[in-house]
């Protein structure tokens, strides 16, 4: 009896994050029963889509005892570059007036490559040159903001959002496909594919196991023949590539880009990871947890707005949830029995 009670308690502690999500949803439904509709849930998922991709990327970095503060600005840079190459030929304020209309894949691959190099630079600073991750990526963040602003704010049109994005991209990010009786937004499908790929990468590949190993004990990993430097650099680079993908999707979703695109995304991503059970000291975390972490924040955003809670109050709720999640997490690993 005693044992089953304690194991229920343990299970409760382990799954507390799901409980939080459930309680939140139920609370919103109780206040406003109309919340319970397929459309709303679809919207929540669609709004979460790019955030999930970003959080998974940031989560990988956290997993190897890193931390990436350059997330938002990296997305900003990728967004302005890709947007500038994806303007329709009929749009009046084109950045490159003589550019032929490119297939979406070309700018996408280009920004993925650019970000991969930038991520590698962060990774090399951290893994090879031993710069503390917060400092290395803070420096990267500043440089990226400067770079994207220089690219963005120039003659002849100056600092105005890069608009007129080709419908080939915007359609993909706004439209949906009919599967069975319901319309599923493409964004959700794209995010689902990336989540699946990430799950396999984290759980089924050598790379994933090495990520856990480095986060768990870098010295032991080194001695066990793990190329710690290589894996760390790869993690930063891969995260940056995912930021690039997210950036292009953001451009499509919003329909424009500027040098403020992506501002502050790193904090949202880290917060979602923390709430989703990723340890700030590395080595602990799961893809599922991060997805739920993102959903919790989106539900707060969407749900609380839906029942008419003031924006400012939403910030307070968010803050409390972060602290609450970490307290629970700490208790889970507390020694006292």
């Amino acid at each position: 009896m005693e044992k089953s009670k304690s194991s229920i308690k343990q299970l409760f502690m382990e799954k507390i994050i799901y409980v939080v999500l459930l309680v939140l949803i139920i609370a919103v439904i109780c206040i406003e029963p109309r919340f319970l509709s397929i459309t709303n849930f679809k919207n929540i998922l669609a709004q979460s889509a790019t955030r999930i991709i970003i959080a998974l990327a940031a989560g990988m970095v956290l997993m190897v005892r890193g931390c990436d503060l350059s997330t938002g600005r990296m997305i900003g840079l990728a967004a302005v570059i890709s947007a500038s190459l994806l303007q329709t030929t009929t749009y009046a304020y084109r950045m490159y007036p003589n550019l032929a209309e490119l297939p979406v894949i070309v700018p996408l691959l280009l920004v993925m490559a650019i970000c991969a190099v930038l991520g590698m630079i962060s990774g090399i600073c951290v893994a090879v040159l031993k710069v503390p991750p917060i400092i290395a990526t803070l420096a990267m963040q500043l440089c990226l903001y400067g770079a994207s602003s220089i690219y963005f704010d120039r003659e002849p049109y100056g600092a105005q959002p890069i608009g007129g994005i080709t419908s080939k991209l915007t359609d993909m990010c706004i439209r949906s496909v009919k599967i069975g009786p319901i319309q599923i937004p493409y964004l959700i499908i794209i995010a689902a594919i990336i989540v699946a790929v990430m799950w396999v990468l984290w759980n089924k590949t050598k790379f994933g196991k090495y990520m856990y190993a480095i986060g768990g004990n870098p010295e032991a990993a080194q001695v066990s023949g793990v190329n710690v430097v290589k894996i760390q650099v790869m993690v930063y680079a891969l995260a940056a590539v995912m930021y690039a993908v997210a950036a292009v999707l953001e451009v499509g979703r919003i329909g424009s880009a500027s040098n403020t695109t992506g501002n502050g995304y790193e904090m949202d991503a880290i917060a979602a990871c923390v709430v989703g059970g990723v340890s700030m000291s590395g080595g602990i975390g799961s893809v599922g947890g991060i997805v739920i972490g993102v959903l919790i924040f989106t539900v707060i955003n969407y749900g609380l707005s839906f029942i008419g809670v003031n924006m400012y109050w939403q910030y307070i709720v968010k803050g409390l949830i972060i602290v609450f999640a970490v307290i629970i997490d700490m208790r889970k690993y507390a020694k006292r029995k």
């Binding site: 089924k204 196991k209 856990y212 004990n217 032991a220 080194q222 001695v223 080595g283 602990i284």
Partner: protein, 497 residues
Amino acid sequence: MLSEYVLEMRNITKTFPGVKALDDVTLKVRHGTVHSLMGENGAGKSTLMKCLFGIYGLDSGEIILEGEKVSFAGPVDALRSHVSMVHQELNQVLDRNIMENVWLGRFPMKGLFVDHQKMYQDTKEIFDDLQIPVDPRAKTGSLQVAQRQMVEIAKAVSYDSKVIVMDEPTSSLTENEVEHLFHIIGRLRERGVSIIYISHKMEEILRISDDVTVMRDGRWVATKPKEELTSEKIIQMMVGRELKERYPKRDTKSGEVILKVENLSSLTPAFKDVNFELRKGEILGISGLVGAGRTEVLETMFGIRAKGSGTITFRGKTVENKTPQEAMKNGFAMLTEERRQNGIFADLSVSFNCIIANLDIYKKHGLLNNALIDKEVQETIEKIHVKTSSPKEKIGNLSGGNQQKVILGRWLLTNPEILLLDEPTRGIDVGAKYEIYQLMNELVAEGKSIIMVSSEMPELFGVCDRIMVMSNGHFSGIFDAKEVTQYQIMEASAKFI
């Protein structure tokens, strides 16, 4: 009427999910005696002490201190009742001076201010009484581990302790320092303080104990006065079976020279010009004092430490072993000395810890095959007798001996030719040691070769074919283990000092 015992722990039972950690254990400590607590790792010694200090609650049983039933809420509460503990890992504020560490949390005050003068005098008095030659104003971090431990004992005394628990106090002390510690323990005993002494070291136990309690698998086995005990008897009680020999027999012969190390020097001045050969199926021991450069030689051979000059020739081919990956590819494996620091992934599972060095063979179409992993892990666990509730158990929850076996298993899975073992049996109990020796014998019987660094002389004599001695970073001799004496080894160890 005072009872004969200062502390009685009666019929203590403590269960964790899935394991009965303590089962009806009784410990009775007489006034002014040293009472040793012995048992293999995982026998329940630490758990019993945690129960005493209220870190764990009791399922049943009671604790009687000087005739009164007590139940401490935690170490601080215990201190107030004059029961204290000197930990294996010292919790001290290294940046503050010694007297502040001693009186932390109860500084003597003069009005609103801390009375440093009184603090100094009180500390000095205790130090003088115990003959601890340390200035109370010195910065704690500047002290040697041994001195810091003395400070910790003095702190226990400052709380007017009647019972002091010492957990493996000599594990990082030199012989002289151990003598000093025993001297202090003697003085404490004269003052009527009782000591609960936890250690694996048989010689120490037999020297300083009045009584010895032996535990096994969470149960009380026996409490006997020292006069009735010998180390064989204690080992027998601890292991529960008769260990006729502490070292298993081996009748394999070593073959041809397989590895040649010539003029090996480290990039840092750790060691210079080390030369030796290793034969197929041989166990070569490396002896020497702490700081002789033994670990560094192994680390350089495995690519953890940069090589300055010299060559390593394996099967006639020169190998560089610049990184652990390269060394592993060349058929080397290394068990490191600091298990916690660079051996285990404490928060991850036994299974993960077992396979991490060897993921390539589990790949199927680029992905890891869980079924294959589970099968191999299960086989390894069985082969090397790891005691764990499940392969999914966190390795941090296993005893030291079992952790060590898992890491050894990790390296066996890589199928190495040369195993470099750095203090493979440090801090693990007699039974687990025996099993590790047996495993080593099996390995050399299969034609693998082992280089083992050890600080335990009897172990080197019991296990190795030859013993190489290092002294202060220099090679100072290599001997046949059957012919050399301990005296010769010690002499060689001191050659370059």
